[in-house]
C-alpha cells in the first residue's frame, strides 16, 4: 500500500531530514510514527502528500511510484489520501456539513452523491446531529471529528493523521483515537504521527520510531519508549 524505498531528503538549506529510509506499510494497517520534533515525521508525511519531493529514492502508493508523478496528476493522488492535522483546518464560514461536502464538491460529485456520503461520514465520527453548526460553535474534539469526517468522506484507502490529538485534552484525544481505530477497522490504512506517549503505549499497534532522519525501531504492538531511552542515556 505504502512503500518508501531508500528515501533521502535533504532540504535546500542543507538539513538532512531523512536518510535512507525504508518503510513498508500494508493495506489495513494502523501505524504510529513517533519521534521528537525535527526527527523527520513531518517530512515523511509531506513526501506522501507530494508537498515536497525526495532527494533520492522512490515512494509507492497503491502500486504507483508517486515520485514520478508530475504536476497535473498530483491532486488525483491526494484524493486517495485523507489527511487530518493538529490544527483541524476547517473553513470557519461554512457549516459542518459544508466543510465535509467541500471535499466532494471539488471533485464534481453529484448532489445525490453528496447528500448520501456526507451524513454517513458525519455519523461515522458521531457528529450527525451537528451538521448545521458552524465551527466556532464546536469544541476542539468536535473540530477534529469534522476534519476526520472530511478526510474520509471520499472513501480514500489511506488516512494520514499528523498529530491529530496535539491540541486536545486526554479524554477528547481518546475519543478521537476511537474514531480513527473505527475507521481502521473498516479497512482504511491509518498512518498517524504523534507525540502522545500514553496513547501509543496503550493502543498496542505497530510503532515506527524515527530519530535524526532514520528509522531506529519498527515493532508490531510497540510502545513509545523514546523518552525512556533518553533517560537511560543520561544514567
Amino acid at each position: 500500500m505504502i512503500r518508501f524505498i531508500d528515501i533521502t531528503k535533504v532540504y535546500k538549506n542543507g538539513v538532512k531530514a531523512l536518510s535512507n529510509v525504508d518503510l513498508n506499510i500494508g493495506k489495513g494497517e494502523f501505524v504510529f510514527i513517533v519521534g521528537a520534533s525535527g526527527a523527520g515525521k513531518s517530512t515523511l508525511i509531506k513526501l506522501l502528500l507530494k508537498e515536497i519531493e525526495p532527494t533520492e529514492g522512490s515512494i509507492y502508493l497503491n502500486g504507483e511510484d508517486i515520485t514520478q508523478v508530475r504536476g497535473r496528476r498530483v491532486p488525483h493522488i491526494r484524493r486517495n489520501v485523507g489527511t487530518v492535522f493538529q490544527d483541524f483546518r476547517l473553513l470557519p464560514n461554512r457549516t459542518v456539513y459544508e466543510n465535509v461536502s467541500f471535499a466532494l464538491e471539488i471533485i464534481g460529485a453529484s448532489r445525490r452523491d453528496i447528500s448520501r456520503k456526507v451524513p454517513s461520514a458525519l455519523n461515522m465520527v458521531g457528529l450527525g446531529s451537528k451538521a448545521y453548526c458552524y465551527p466556532d460553535e464546536l469544541s476542539g474534539g468536535e473540530h477534529q471529528r469534522v476534519a476526520i469526517s472530511r478526510a474520509i468522506v471520499n472513501n480514500p484507502p489511506i488516512l494520514i493523521a499528523d498529530e491529530p490529538t496535539g491540541n486536545l485534552d486526554p479524554d477528547t484525544s481518546w475519543d478521537i483515537m476511537d474514531v480513527l481505530l473505527d475507521i481502521n477497522r473498516r479497512g482504511t490504512t491509518v498512518l498517524m504521527a504523534t507525540h502522545a506517549r500514553e496513547i501509543v503505549n496503550t493502543m498496542k499497534q505497530r510503532v515506527v520510531a524515527i530519530e535524526a532522519g532514520r528509522i531506529i525501531r519498527d515493532e508490531q504492538r510497540g510502545v513509545y519508549e523514546h523518552e525512556v531511552s533518553h533517560i537511560e542515556e543520561h544514567i
Binding site: 502528500l49 508537498e51 497535473r72 491532486p75 488525483h76 493522488i77 491526494r78 484524493r79 489527511t83 483546518r89 476547517l90 473553513l91 467541500f102 471535499a103 464538491e105 471539488i106 471533485i107 464534481g108 460529485a109 453529484s110 472530511r150 478526510a151 471520499n154
Partner: protein
C-alpha cells in the same frame, strides 16, 4: 466512467467555480470597486484616445482628398501643339488619375468667386496675370513627388504647386498622436493590471486557509485558480460596461454640443458617435476581461506552487 457522467461532473465543477467567484467578488466588493474604477478609467482614456486617433485619421483622409491636386502652371507662349503633347505626357503617367486643363480666364473667374465682395480689387487688372494650368490628380498622394519630378523637366512648364509638405506633416503628426496615445494606454493598462492583481491578492490571502485545504483534499490548480480568474474577469467586464456607457454617452453629448454650436466645420472631421458603439464595446470588453484575467493570473502565480 462514461462520457455523460464525466460531462455532468465537469459541469458541476464549473458551476462551483462560478459560484465561488461570484461569492468572493461580493465579499471583496470594497477593493473590487477600486479595480473596477481603475479599469473603467483606463478604458475611458482608451476611448478618448481612440476617438482622437480616428478623428485625426479622418482629417488626414479629408486633407488627402482635398490637397491631392498638383497644379502645373504653363508658360504663356506655349503653342497648342505643345499643350496637347504635354497633356498627353502627363495623362499617360501610370500614377496620374486625371488631368484637367484650366485656362487663365477660368482661373480668374474662380478667383473672383472665392474673393466675393473683395473681387472688385481684381477689376483693375489690365491683363490677366494668372497662367494657364493643368490640374493633375494623382492616384495616391505618395506619388506626388514622382510625378512632380517628371513633369518639372517638361517643355513649357513654368511652375508646379502641390501640398505634399502639408500632408506629410499632417501624417507625421497623426503618427505621433497615435504613438503617444498607445503609450499612455500601455502605461495605464500596466497600472490597472497591477491594481487588479493586488485586489485579487487580498482575496487570495483571505482564502489562504481554504486554498490550503483545497489542495489537501485534492483540488486541481484549475479548480483553485478558477474563481479568482472569474472574479478578475468580471471586474474587467463591469469596468468595460461602465466605460462603454461613459464614452458613448459622453461623446454623443460632446458631439451634439459641438454641432449645435455652429462648429459644424469641426464635427465633419469627428467620427460620428453611432459608428463607434459596436467597435468600442467589443474592444473594451476584450480589454477589460483581458486585464482582469491577467491581473488574477499574476497574483496567483507565486501562490499555486505549493
Amino acid at each position: 466512467m462514461n462520457s455523460g457522467v464525466y460531462m455532468s461532473m465537469k459541469f458541476r465543477i464549473l458551476k462551483n467555480i462560478f459560484r465561488q467567484g461570484l461569492q468572493s467578488m461580493w465579499r471583496n466588493r470594497g477593493m473590487g470597486l477600486a479595480s473596477i474604477t481603475s479599469i473603467t478609467a483606463v478604458l475611458v482614456i482608451l476611448g478618448l484616445v481612440l476617438i482622437m486617433i480616428l478623428s485625426i485619421n479622418n482629417v488626414v483622409v479629408e486633407a488627402k482628398n482635398k490637397f491631392d491636386e498638383i497644379q502645373v502652371f504653363l508658360e504663356d507662349d506655349i503653342s497648342t501643339d505643345e499643350l496637347h503633347r504635354l497633356e498627353d505626357t502627363i495623362r499617360n503617367s501610370e500614377e496620374v488619375l486625371s488631368v484637367m486643363y484650366q485656362t487663365k480666364d477660368q482661373a480668374l473667374e474662380i478667383m473672383k468667386e472665392e474673393w466675393q465682395e473683395d473681387s472688385y480689387l481684381l477689376e483693375g487688372l489690365e491683363e490677366n496675370p494668372l497662367p494657364n494650368a493643368f490640374k493633375v490628380k494623382v492616384k495616391d498622394i505618395e506619388y506626388s513627388d514622382l510625378v512632380v519630378d517628371r513633369v518639372k523637366e517638361l517643355e513649357g512648364v513654368e511652375d508646379i504647386v502641390y501640398y505634399k509638405d502639408i500632408i506629410d506633416r499632417l501624417v507625421l503628426f497623426a503618427g505621433y498622436i497615435r504613438l503617444g496615445g498607445l503609450a499612455i494606454i500601455g502605461i495605464l493598462m500596466i497600472i490597472s493590471i497591477f491594481i487588479i492583481s493586488n485586489t485579487i491578492k487580498i482575496t487570495v490571502s483571505a482564502r489562504k486557509n481554504e486554498i490550503g485545504i483545497m489542495k489537501y483534499v485534492g483540488a486541481t490548480n484549475g479548480y483553485i485558480r478558477g474563481p479568482f480568474i472569474i472574479e478578475g474577469v468580471l471586474f474587467g467586464l463591469i469596468g468595460a460596461i461602465l466605460s462603454v456607457l461613459v464614452v458613448n454617452y459622453g461623446y454623443q453629448y460632446f458631439f451634439n454640443a459641438v454641432s449645435d454650436q455652429l462648429y459644424v466645420l469641426f464635427t465633419i472631421y469627428l467620427v460620428p458617435p453611432t459608428s463607434l458603439v459596436k467597435d468600442i464595446s467589443i474592444i473594451f470588453a476584450a480589454m477589460g476581461m483581458g486585464i482582469g484575467a491577467l491581473g488574477s493570473l499574476l497574483s496567483l502565480k507565486r501562490f499555486l506552487n505549493v
